[in-house]
Symmetry: C2
Amino acid sequence: MSDTADLATALRSGDRRALARAITLVESTRDDHREEAESLLGAVLDATGRSIRVGISGPPGSGKSTLIEALGLRVVGQGHRVAVLAVDPSSVRTGGSILGDKTRMVDLGRSDAAFIRPSPTGGSLGGVARRTREAMLCCEAAGFDVVFVETVGVGQSETAVADMVDMFAVVLAPGGGDELQGIKRGIVELADALVINKADGDLAAAAHRAAADYAAALGFVRARSEAWTPTVLECSALENRGVNELWATIESFRASLTAAGEFDIRRQDQARSWMWAELTDTMVDRLRADPDVARRLAEAEQAVIADEILPPVAARAILDA
Amino acid sequence: MSDTADLATALRSGDRRALARAITLVESTRDDHREEAESLLGAVLDATGRSIRVGISGPPGSGKSTLIEALGLRVVGQGHRVAVLAVDPSSVRTGGSILGDKTRMVDLGRSDAAFIRPSPTGGSLGGVARRTREAMLCCEAAGFDVVFVETVGVGQSETAVADMVDMFAVVLAPGGGDELQGIKRGIVELADALVINKADGDLAAAAHRAAADYAAALGFVRARSEAWTPTVLECSALENRGVNELWATIESFRASLTAAGEFDIRRQDQARSWMWAELTDTMVDRLRADPDVARRLAEAEQAVIADEILPPVAARAILDA
């Protein structure tokens, strides 16, 4: 246990190797490691939370990683310490990840004020999300005051990331035809900022039109908070244009929600739902861990779908047994 | 038990008094009644599902009830049997309800082919939703082939109703200034149809503009299904204008989703999530039933919000105890 105390001390001092070790510990599925990880996190909890947490999502081809790197360099230049984490749904089950790879953010990775970590792998999105939340706490304890969490726009991973960050930004790169399909309903639901990327060269005009269209559409929809209207920006990470404005937007978001008293409330709501999600997920996992119950769950689902049994009756039968 | 068998038989024959008794039984919280209710539902389950289920939501003042009555009369005139149920969030806790009151749909209530029932009351939205779902099954077993579920647009009750119907329609009556606030994100998320009501007299022009604005906004957003684009309609229940078009839209929706193979899939997904919701709700209720655990849950929430303990650690502490 004194190892854990030492690690906690090193982490608080901002030691990057300690941070890497702490996150590796947090990601481990071994029971003894889980115990140590929770002990470590408990020891540094009072030093967490002092950051702005920004989720950045976007489809492959949106230039998201290049944008995060440019943004990270801007933020480092302003004197901050930046962590880049990732939730990659493809790393659930397969164990691989294409996000957050240090080799993809070479310039940023060279800076001592930046820390880049690939997505954790795991058996479920819930597990990956938990590890990322805990990695974020480790980064904050180590003094990183800006945390980006990158993800690809695949349904539930966007919601999982939105649940752990203060601000959620979506990056799009129109001109490829996807704007004709319209905005994903998830964007309307979650985005505090929409970044039209690759707004350069031949695509500059298309990007400008897309930005106007999206702004009009989002303008019709009631915002999540009276303190912030979702913003549409045009960026060219290649030409390093729009990146400063994006950082200014993030800072403005924090100022606005803090002034409205909503910043902390959002975090409290997130902490509370994390607890409830863990409660129900753990209860369900314990059910499933019994092969008998797992089998009965699968059979119940089939019977319910086939209208052979009423869902609440099926649920109670499983719990009573 | 032979009472239950008799009631099942009477229900299947379309007897309205049997239907009223069945729904009263389903709404009762007494344990012995719950047992009888589940026995009854099990006995008629094979006769359920043969209807189109439409959720109709809208703020107070949207003219929703008048519209439902006009729609119900149209549908009855087409030879169908119509049930009108309700999920009123204000009936959670208070025991009162302002929706689905027979005295508010006098003409429709006079028809033998229509059955109107107020919202059940209950201690939680989950309880009210379950009772409404089961009441819907009773109506279907009694041969009602069109079921409307009315609700006011209050956050989670809309989602609860959307989870139990095939099609979700939102009724708005612009001209009062609420269109300036934009479309609720819930509408973008859930609505298969948007009805601009009270499109008559002085408000006809405002309604027309609002319909165009909403259609433009919804047009930007990617639909939930490729088989159906959310439709915007103008109605004047007072002038009985647009009501036939609304019914035609509902029929068209069913045809389109059935042709795409999605109609049954939606219902299967709903049955499956009903089972899982009952599982987790029951597990949480059993936790809360123990006053000791209930107290610890409340304390854990406070500690988690205050950053004194990590949420997953708090969750596990509660479950291990």
